[in-house]
Amino acid sequence: MLELYLFQLLNGLGLGMIYFLIAVGLTIIFGLLNFVNFAHGAFFLLGAYLCYTAVALTGNFWLALLIAPLVVAALAWAVERLLIKRIYHLPHTFQILVTLGIALIIQEASVLIWGPVGKNIAVPPELRGVVILGDFIYPYYRLFLIGFAALIGLALWLLLERTRFGALVRAGSESTETVSLLGTNIFRLFSLTFALGVGLAGVAGVLFAPLRGAQPFVGPEILGIAFVVVVIGGMGSFGGALVGGLLVGVVQSMMTSLWPQGASLMIYGAMAAVILVRPYGLFGRA
């Protein structure tokens, strides 16, 4: 019995790390650009599908893990330059509607390219098999997932806290105007940050693919969860995205066998409660 709980807990942590990667991208974009990206779930979906194609073409998951997020980020960069940069000045309502349109286009384009039935992606051969510790058995891939996502998280933290780029992003989150006046090309910074945030959703999509495959209509569900995580953790908060992601992942995983709809009810209920009681999130600043 205890093994089962441990199993579910670890599964939850893995899922939670994926949610963290998605949510942290969303939160960085919101923090610096003050932009609400409703297309984030669609870019996640694209990451999973590009992973499928890359694996199909090269037969190498590791190459897919490198290429797919880069392609997603490049696409996001192009979309930012062409369209999104023109709507930063508009109220959030308009940003939501435009990115909702982008999400629809990406979703339908994915179905057009990859078909309406989901695609399965095999676990890479190096990570097949299980860890056996006494009575406890756990798949390698899920352990790798937790470790790799943690590594990405650490790299991202270092990028934000220890580099000039990160300093600019953090300063820009405080006041874009000041950063701009100090001589930084703020539009370049915006494009890069948008591409980075969306690229993280792409990484999450690739990591998710061997678990559940690439499903064409998963975008809105993932977007919903990402918003739950971001809201619970606090909009714009890195640590909040991590804790929120793990929390949601563990709750969902623990309840899958008991009452999966109940888990969704709980997390969306928690989201509403947090907005009503503590709108800056559990970790955000007031």
Binding site: I87, P91, T93, L97, G101, L265, G269, A272, I275, P279
Partner: protein
């Protein structure tokens, strides 16, 4: 919506109502089936209700699917289990919609902007999973089957047989006209002007002394009641209340119809619903991925054509008749 969107200017009330009547008469004549025309009016009601929030009060609600779904389930359950008649069931759906809207609205308007939107989104998801879980009532994933479509009866005598799609269309059209006229009356009343004031500058409206929360809750309830009626009519049309009635996609669809038709124009909602339902009907056979086109249109409308279809038509009308300018007297807010 807000900011650079000018105050909606529309034709006088009788002209607008005449336009609606003409559209209602024309719809079944130009469309291949009365059922399709009925579907348009049902979604036009939902879009019109969404417009009261988005176009006139500046509230972007992702919760319209809740009221639509609750109206559908509510009316269906009343008709199936309590054998309620047509009007009672519709009234029941309106009450359910209004009560849910009271609950959702009263909580959601405690926050503004993005947090308001997030709250409506959270409630929408909760309603969906609740409907999924309560499968004893809602049929869960299978939906609620065998929803009746009662006839109009007087003391047990069938006055109008609504099983005929043309009769049902006529009934829905009449109901649409009544609700449209009522909504127009509301919008062009001092209550409606206050809503516009809230949309333009809520702080200022509050400073003048209006209890803006009170107004926002009331408009939410009105919107919920109309959306509930639309949901009930939809269940009667399909003889079925699917789970998709209450999902987030339904909320998004209603929003998209409202925006493409024209935010801040009640007639625009009819145009938006008409365009999208017809487009969906025609294109879904030829090209199942037509939603892609919808996404593109949505972006174009939001970025370039804030007035939507109605705004586009109004612009066209102005260019065709350069001599006629709007006098201050006709410059009523629509």
């Amino acid at each position: 919506m807000s900011e650079k969107n000018p105050l909606p200017v529309g034709p006088r009330t009788p002209v607008l109502l005449l336009l609606v009547v003409a559209s209602l008469v024309l719809l079944p004549l130009v469309l291949p089936s009365a059922t399709l025309a009925t579907e348009i009016l049902i979604f036009a009601l939902a879009a019109l209700a969404c417009n009261l929030l988005l176009g006139y009060t500046g509230l972007l609600s992702f919760g319209q699917g809740i009221f639509f779904g609750v109206g559908a389930y509510g009316a269906a359950l009343l008709m199936i289990h309590l054998k309620w008649g047509l009007f009672a069931a519709l009234l029941g759906a309106a009450v359910f919609g209004a009560l849910l809207a009271l609950l959702v609205g009263a909580l959601a308007i405690r926050r503004k902007g993005i947090y308001f939107v997030m709250l409506t989104l959270a409630f929408s998801q909760m309603a969906y999973f609740l409907a999924y879980t309560l499968s004893g009532w809602t049929g869960g994933d299978n939906g609620l089957l065998d929803v009746p479509r009662p006839n109009i009866e007087v003391f047990g005598h069938v006055l109008v047989d609504l099983a005929d799609p043309r009769h049902f269309y006529a009934f829905v059209a009449l109901l649409f006209l009544l609700i449209f006229a009522f909504a127009l009356r509301v919008i062009r009343s001092p209550f409606g002007s206050t809503l516009l004031a809230i949309r333009e500058n809520e702080t200022r409206a509050a400073a003048i002394g209006y209890d803006t929360r009170h107004f926002k809750i009331l408009v939410f309830m009105l919107s919920g009641a109309i959306t509930g009626i639309a949901g009930a009519l939809y269940a009667m049309l399909l003889h079925f209340a699917p789970l998709s009635n209450i999902d987030l996609m339904m909320s998004e669809n209603i929003l998209i119809m409202t925006i493409i038709g024209g935010t801040g124009s009640l007639f625009g909602s009819l145009l938006g619903a008409g365009a999208i339902v017809v487009l969906g009907d025609v294109l879904s056979e030829l090209w199942p991925r037509w939603l892609m086109l919808l996404g593109l249109i949505l972006i174009l409308v939001v970025v370039f054509m804030r007035g939507g279809l109605w705004g586009g038509l109004a612009e066209l009308g102005k260019r065709l008749r350069p001599g006629r300018t709007l006098s201050t007297k006709t410059k009523e807010t629509l």
